[in-house]
Every structure is written in C-alpha cells, then in structure tokens.
Amino acid sequence: MAKKIGIPRGLFYYQYYPFWKTFFEEIGAEIVVSDRTTKRILDDGIKNCVDEACLPVKLFHGHVMNLRGRVDYLFIPRFTSVSKGEYVCPKFGGLPDMIRQSLKDLPPIIDTEVNLRKSKRNAMKAALEAGAHFNCHKAEIKAAFKKALKSYRDFREQVKKGLLPSDILDRKFKVLKKPDDKVLNVAVIGHVYNLYDSYINMDMIRKLRDSNVNILTVDMIDGGIINEKAGTLNKKMFWYFGRKAMGSVLHMLERDDIDGIIYVMSFGCGIDSFVCDLIERKVRRKGGVPFTVLTIDEHSGEAGMNTRLEAFIDMIRWRSADESNISSFG
C-alpha cells in the first residue's frame, strides 16, 4: 500500500503544491492535503501555538492538527532559502522544530532543508532527501524531480498570465460578470498564504472581483523586471518576498494602468512590517497611486474588512469619474 504523506494547506502550499503533488505521486506516495481552512482549524492552531507568532504560522499549526492520525508522514520542509543570496523568514526556518515542540502525537515529520542560498543545485539534494523515505531509486527520484519541476513551471506560467493560484488550486474559475463599470487594475501585494487562503482574508479576492477589479499580484510581474527594479535599491533586499514586492511595486509605479495598490499583511509579520513601510513611503513620495494597508489577524471582523475594501474601490472610482484629483478643500 502506498504510504500516505500529509501536506498541510498553509504557508508555501500556495506556491509549491503543484511541485510537491507531482513529485510525491511520481515516487509512489499518496497525498493527503488538510481540509480547507475553517474556524475549527484556525482555533486549533491558535490554541496550540505561541501567542506571539503571526497568523499564518498559527493557522499552519491548525492544519497540521487536521492531518493528525490520517497520514503516515507529515511533509514540513525547512525553508531556509528559496533563492540565491536570500532568505525566506526565520519562522519558516524553524517551523519543523516549532511544530514538533508545540504539537504532540504526530507522525514522523519529513523536514528536509531547502536551502538555495548558495546554489540552486541544493534543490535536488532536498528532493533526494525527501524521496529517501519512500524507498525508491535515486534515478526515480531524479526523474520525479524533473517532472515536478515541469508542472511547477506550467503552474507559474498560468499564474503569470493572470490566473491566481487559488483559482488553479481550488479549481474555481472566475465567473465573468457583465462589466457595467470600468474594470480597475488593482495590485494586491502580500504573501501567497495570505492572499490565496480565502478564509483568513475573508474572501477578499472574490469581493474585489465582484466589484469589477482586475487583480494583479507580484507573481504576474516578470522576474527579470522585478530583479532590475529591486537592483536599484540602496541595499540589496535579503528576503525573497521583500525583493519581489519591492521590485514589483517600483515597476508598477512606472506603469500608468495601475489604479491602486492594496497591501495585505498579517499582524506581527516581521518582514511585512519593514517591506510594507518602505513601499508605502515610496508610493507616497511618488504620489498619484492610491494605497491602502489591510492587516489581518485572528480577530479580524469581516464587516470592517468589507468597509475598507469598498471605501477604497469607491474612492478610486470617484477619483476617475470626477476627473479631478484635487480635493475640494484645497
């Protein structure tokens, strides 16, 4: 019987699931993904994680608990770095240890370290290490790795064309409403696990789309452009997400088809606290593009979120309808 490997639906699930799925299926494992986020999962996570952690990490604890007892292995890789010379976040690096100490009675954890800080070739090393749990040959693992890489690239291509990972992963394709007012291009900047988990961001994506907004994310911006723009910074960004966010926003500020920027951050996120602030300063200095920050945490009330989203979109619409950007009060 195939061994069951559990993948918690949280954090980098939204970025690497297509890769993991192909890889583990190719080496003959059965994949079990935790259920979609519910209140129960979130509550479990909050109860079993240190209070100071950020929402996505707490939620991840909940997803791990959701898988407990249903799988033979848990796949919680240690993401130190996913790009050359950059880091992800200290919490990602310590995640397997946090899980192991906070939750009890867990199946064995596959905590392969993914560290591409020095060289991209370490990805294969990580794959071999993870594959070793399923006794198959090196050659098989290597072949699986290549196939997985291909499906990952296909996935990224689709995302670049404008499909959101949540559309692909949840197989929810957007139902086009007949456009009655102008379609707005709004950039939504945030970590994948905040943007594409419709429970914790309170279905923000659908709400924006319903009000006729075309969503742009950092994943839709060409990597080359991001790197070029991020290269103009005074000091190299050493966070993977930070570089992408800074690069994309700097690029967006030069385009004239962006109607607004929404930054979605989770409360207590260390990286967001700096990146968001730097972006906000840059946007405000340049002027001309409306900018708002939405902070989500486990207490977020949906009404407050709706109000702010609606107000932001209305403001953009009135702005172009009245054609003048000058406040009537001088």
């Binding site: 100071e52 952690a53 200290p90 700096f274």
Partner: protein, 378 residues
C-alpha cells in the same frame, strides 16, 4: 562632519574609543530615555521591533544636537536588523532629518565601495592607525564586559545596597568626559578597583539566573527597566552570555578572518533547533541548555514584540524547560510595556525560584512518604 550612532548598552564606550583614536568628530546621543522611545514610536512602523524604534529616537535626538552623519552596522538577514540601516535612511528622511548614512558591513557588490565609505568617514586610509584602533576597541569591549560581569557578581553580595550601582553609573557617565582608548582603559581599571573594594558578604549563595534572548533588549538595560541590576538588588546573580565584545569578537572579527568560533551553544541547541535561523534563536536555546546543565536556578528570556527568531525560540523553550527541569520566564517588551506589571512577574518568578531552592534543600534532608528512590538511596 559630525558622526553619531545609536545606543546599544555599553557599546557607546567602544565606538567612542574607536572614533577618538581615528580622530573623527562625533556626538553621542543622550542615553536611552522616554522621549527617544516616543520619538521612535511616532516615526517608525507600528509593527517594527522595539530596537528600531528606540534607535530612531536616538538618532533624532542626536540630529537635534547637530549630528549630520549616522554610523551603523549592517547585516545580511534573515533577521530584520540587517535592514535597519535602510529603514533609518528612509525614516529620517521623511522625519525631516537630513543625515548621511554610513553602513559598516561586508559589501555585497564591490570592495572598493566599502573602502570608499571608510575613507569618507576617517578622511584617509592609514592601515596602521585603523588596525591599532580596532585592536584597542576590541580590548575595551572585552574589558567593559568584564566590568559588567564583575558588577553582576558584586551586586547580590554587597553589604551596603546600591554601592555597586553607584560605581557602575559613575563609570558610565564619567567615560563620556575622557578621550582616547588609553584614558578609557585607565578609567575602566579605576572602576574595577572600586568595584573590587565594595564590601561583600561572601557567605551568601545567591540564586543564579541566566539571561537569554534578543541581543538589543538583553544588552541594553533601558528597555527591560534595568532588569539585570534589579535582579542583583533582589539578591540574584545574573549571567548573560551575549555581550558587545562577544558580538565584536565572534560575529565580526572571527567571521571576517575565518577563525573558528566557540559553537558549544549550537551543539547544545541541536536536538531542539537544527540550524541557524537568524538572530539569536540558536544562542537562546543553546545557552538555556548550557545554563540548565550548569545547575542554574532559572532562565529569563527577553525579546521585543514581533521578533521573528525569538518567537521560534520561545515555542521551543518549553521542551528544554521540561527536559532539564529548569524554570524559564519569557518577557516580551514593547513601547507599551508597563513597569509595574512587568516587575510583578519578575518578582513572582524569583519567589518561585527561592521556594524551589528551599524545597530541594528540605527534601534532601528528609524522606517523604512514598519517596522510594530516596529510601533506596539511604
């Protein structure tokens, strides 16, 4: 050019020695104070960590005194500290403080640029002078830390309460008035002799508590309401492995020269935290294990709210607490922390440690009913 730099505990003494010897004009910001924290909180993002807030406060206060250039250390992540220099640049600009920033860090692009930065700072490149100044600075950092350790030892044992603090504070103030590393060294020696003369009661066996956590909030005494000297007043001997000299020697010099470092803490942390994840998380866990093995009565972890590496450490510490049977108190500090609530927790923790010690002393002399292991031993 008037250089300034943010505070980090006694680091100002080392930077002062360095700049004195290199002949750079500088202003030392006021010691950490309430206004610095308020200024910092006003201008920095809400969720930034406390050290950023308070250092911004330092720099704005220095700007008010006429400083125009900031000297700052850099880093390459993943802890946020590595990006402080850029945050400082942006925040100071928006706060209306026109200041130049010089970041001292290993260059990621070319060496020439780094050399240029140093040249800009000291107006020339006299290698002999630089090496000598670095050597003296390192020595001073080590001596200052020795002095601090001595104060940790003297405080719980002193007969007349407050005598250690008086000498130590006198030294911290007085050092501002002298110039050059030679005079600073003389002053350190003077303070050391005074501390050694403090009348102590050596029959006291004080509680031993280890301090671990994030570097800024443990080294600098202001954010933690001078916890380490207060613990001393409560009759607790404090040990803190993370120091300024340790940072200079181990993290900067040994790394730059590729010398072997003391990694016993990493070894001790291994069963709990496999790799370096940035900041001082590995140190926190490793040192806690080492403290427990040395028979310390308790450990206090201090860190600023939202500090990423320490959150990981905090969630792992309960496992260490259980495995080694050592009480651990975690204290999280931000600009809203109230002194009374905070001290209540510390006092309760110390009471607990005292009781634990009494209890073990009591049990050692008695055989309790049902305590078979002890019966067997006798």
């Amino acid at each position: 050019m008037k250089v300034t730099f943010p505070h980090l505990g006694n680091a100002y003494i080392c930077v002062k020695a360095l700049l004195d010897d290199l002949g750079v004009d500088y202003i030392i910001p006021q010691f950490n104070n309430k206004r610095a924290l308020e200024l910092g909180s006003r201008h920095t993002p809400e969720m930034a960590c406390l050290p950023l807030k308070i250092t911004i406060g330092n720099l704005i206060q220095a700007y008010e005194c006429g400083a125009d250039t900031v000297l700052m250390a850099g880093g390459c992540g993943p802890c946020r500290f590595g990006y402080y220099c850029e945050m400082h640049r942006e925040i100071l600009r928006d706060a209306g403080c026109e200041m130049d920033l010089i970041t001292l860090e290993m260059p990621d692009k070319e060496l020439g640029e780094f050399v240029g930065r140093v040249k800009k700072l000291i107006g020339g490149l006299n290698i002999y002078k630089i090496v000598k100044a670095i050597k003296n600075t390192t020595q001073i950092s080590i001596q200052v830390d020795e002095l601090e350790r001595l104060s940790f030892r003297t405080r719980p044992r002193e007969v007349k309460k407050g005598s250690t603090d008086r000498i130590y504070k006198w030294f911290q103030e007085r050092v501002l008035a002298v110039r050059g590393s030679d005079e600073i060294k003389k002053l350190i020696k003077n303070a050391r002799e005074q501390l050694l003369k403090v009348e102590t009661d050596n029959s006291i066996e004080p509680l031993k508590v280890g301090i671990v956590g994030e570097i800024y909030t443990t080294i600098d005494q202001y954010p933690s309401f001078y916890l380490q000297s207060r613990l001393g007043d409560m009759g607790v001997e404090v040990h803190r492995p993370v120091t300024v000299s340790n940072w200079i020697v181990d993290h900067i010099l040994k790394n730059a020269l590729h010398l072997p470092r003391d990694l016993s803490y990493a070894e001790a942390a291994k069963p709990y935290l496999g790799t370096m994840i940035g900041g001082h998380a590995q140190e926190t866990i490793g040192h806690t294990v080492l403290f427990a093995r040395q028979g310390f009565d308790g450990v206090i972890q201090i860190y600023p709210l939202t500090c990423m590496p320490e959150i990981v450490a905090q969630s792992i510490l309960p496992a260490v607490e259980k495995d080694y049977d050592v009480p651990i108190l975690t204290i999280i500090i931000d600009e809203m922390t109230g002194e009374a609530g905070y001290m209540t927790r510390v006092e309760a923790f110390i009471d607990l440690l005292n009781k634990r010690r009494e209890r073990t002393a009591f049990e050692r002399n008695r055989v309790l009913s049902g305590n078979r292991r002890r019966v067997g031993e006798h």
